[in-house]
């Protein structure tokens, strides 16, 4: 019996050390739910985060050393690609989708506009391999990193072993991206009692709760599920969203709900960047809703807003901008790698 007690206490201590070891680097905002990412399998570590940051900004991940993750996910745009409706990749090829902003990734269940990727740790394989993005392969990346003295010593420092493997590269990239937490907007200050909405913002907040919160759920401003928000198909792209993955008829034109944080930095909007302004987005929801065969919930309960209400709603959406996150130096490029050409 005593033996069991000792084992139990040891196990408990080990678990709590685990907890302490993996969580101080993860800034859990008090008003956020528990993250979905399993940190026990990839405990955050400051050296690994820095390695991930170096990789994220290093074009060594692309075939001709021309494109880094940050080429499409710029820190100054909340890690989206502003001004480009469709993303631009290697050899000037144009992708079929708008590069989404990257933040609060620990709370996502699925990745990509159609949820094609099921875990953050394997996400980077997609851009590294895509002919329209970085045009390389994980094998080639491992070879190139192995040829870099600098990277070898950094991997050694992080993993206590100089071996460069796909899972180490991928987990380091995840580590950096997991630290991209946006929770410092005016909305967040209001929630924690440090600021107050204006009358207009408060009105906008109420309209938001009534019309938008079912999908763009606070405090993340997305429930990160796959939904149809009534956009008509762009026949030049023929992107049917989730249907491409599931081939289930009712998944046609369903896309992952994006967060509404940092909208001022992430235009243009929607999976194909079809709207350049928030006004166009709101008008889509109130007037131009396309009758999809899916019976989207918004079609059964049409969103009706007068012009004052539209202005108020936009005023609220702007309180979700988080300049503290967007201009945070610790997320920006720091020259470390030998692989990167300036």
């Amino acid at each position: 019996m005593q033996k069991f007690l000792v084992i139990f206490i040891c196990a408990f201590l080990m678990l709590s050390f685990d907890y302490i070891a993996s969580y101080p680097l993860f800034d859990q905002p008090p008003h956020f739910p528990k993250p979905i990412y399993n940190f026990n399998k990839n405990p955050l570590d400051s050296a690994a985060i820095e390695l991930g940051r170096a990789l994220f900004y290093d074009p060594i991940l692309s075939r001709d050393n021309s494109i880094s993750c940050a080429s499409c996910h710029s820190p100054f745009n909340a890690f989206a690609h502003t001004d480009h409706d469709l993303s631009h990749g290697i050899f000037d090829s144009i992708g079929t989708r708008n590069a989404p902003a990257l933040f609060n990734l620990a709370w996502h269940k699925l990745f990509m506009w159609d949820g094609a990727i099921n875990h953050l740790d394997v996400q980077a394989l997609a851009p590294i391999t895509s002919h329209k993005e970085m045009g390389s392969s994980i094998k080639e990346v491992i070879e190139k990193l192995n040829a870099s003295k600098e990277y070898k010593s950094r991997f050694n420092q992080v993993f206590k072993d100089p071996k460069i493997t796909s899972s180490r590269i991928l987990k380091a990239l995840s580590q950096f991206q997991l630290t991209l937490i946006s929770a410092g907007s005016k909305y967040d200050l209001v929630v924690s009692g440090k600021d107050q909405f204006t009358h207009q913002e408060k009105n906008g907040y109420e309209l938001f709760l009534k019309n938008c919160n079912s999908c763009h759920q606070e405090p993340l401003f997305s429930n990160y599920t796959i939904q149809d928000n009534g956009l008509p198909l762009d026949s030049t792209l023929n992107d049917l969203g989730r249907f491409n993955i599931s081939q289930v008829e009712s998944d046609k034109m369903k896309f992952k709900v994006p967060s509404l944080r940092n909208l001022s930095y992430t235009y243009p909007y929607m999976h194909d960047g079809r709207f350049r302004s928030l006004k166009e987005v709101i008008n889509h929801y109130t007037e131009r809703l396309y009758k999809t065969p899916n019976k989207s919930p918004i079609q059964d309960n049409p969103i009706k807003l007068n012009s004052n209400e539209k202005v108020d709603l936009i005023a609220f959406l702007l309180t979700l901008n988080d300049p503290n996150f967007v201009f945070d130096k610790k997320h920006q490029f720091k020259k470390i790698s030998m692989g990167a050409k300036e």
């Binding site: 094609a116 099921n118 875990h119 740790d121 394997v122 895509s130 994980i138």
Partner: protein, 223 residues
């Protein structure tokens, strides 16, 4: 000194005994021929050359009279015809058995577990990058009846979500001697799958399921 001698002797003993342990030897075949990559085979009016044959087996288990007697610690093995070492799986059991079971492909839990190592490392080319998931069974080659460019066909069979979950269970019964050959009768697939219709299968789909459903039939035991 004596202690070392004992250790040494017991190591020798272990090594000698290792030969008595059961192992499974996969033997790729086309009809009666031993299947080699990059070699042309004839089937009816079709000439077929295989350039790549790889697949995952999982949860290999050995039974005697319906009770489990052995399951290797390694859960998943990548079998790659271009790497003869991978075709043989060693066990550490010597007891007799009358049935083995295994699965072709990767279960849904492993498919959502993120970046893995060893045989599950994505460097092996058995992971879809643009849509998460392992390729359970990969067969590539050139067939004269295949209408694609350069007559190349690609069968990448995988998928872990319903209705296109492609992992399949295999059960083989028989009289087992120590080294068990398990033939992989690739020609069987071509009896049911028309290469002039189904030649580009690279994502979870009805076509992948059509081929997955035939996989159980290609594994055959010989003595």
């Amino acid at each position: 000194m004596i202690r070392w001698l004992v250790v040494f002797l017991s190591l020798l003993a272990i090594k000698a005994e290792a030969q008595d342990f059961h192992s499974i030897q996969f033997v790729p075949k086309f009809g009666n021929h031993h299947l080699e990559l990059n070699t042309e085979y004839t089937l009816g009016n079709d000439k077929i050359t295989f350039t790549n044959l790889k697949f995952y087996i999982a949860d290999l288990s050995f039974f005697l009279k319906d009770s489990l007697i052995h399951r290797p610690d390694q859960k998943v093995f990548l079998i790659d015809v271009s790497d003869s070492n991978s075709l043989k799986i060693f066990t550490n059991t010597k007891s007799t058995f009358d049935r083995i079971t295994f699965k072709i492909g990767i279960d849904s839990v492993t498919n959502v577990a993120g970046a893995l190592d060893g045989d599950l490392d994505p460097v092996h080319g058995m992971y879809w990058t643009w849509q998460s998931g392992y390729i359970n069974f990969k067969l590539e080659g050139i067939a004269t009846n295949c209408p694609a460019r350069l007559h190349k066909f690609y069968w990448h069979i995988g998928g872990y979500l319903q209705p296109f979950a492609a992992q399949r269970c295999i059960e083989l019964k028989g009289n087992f001697s120590k080294i068990k050959n398990v033939n992989i009768q690739i020609d069987e697939l071509f009896k049911y799958i028309d290469i002039s219709q189904t030649y580009n299968v690279m994502s979870p789909s009805v076509h992948a399921i059509e081929i997955a459903d035939r996989l159980a039939g290609i594994f055959k035991i010989t003595d």
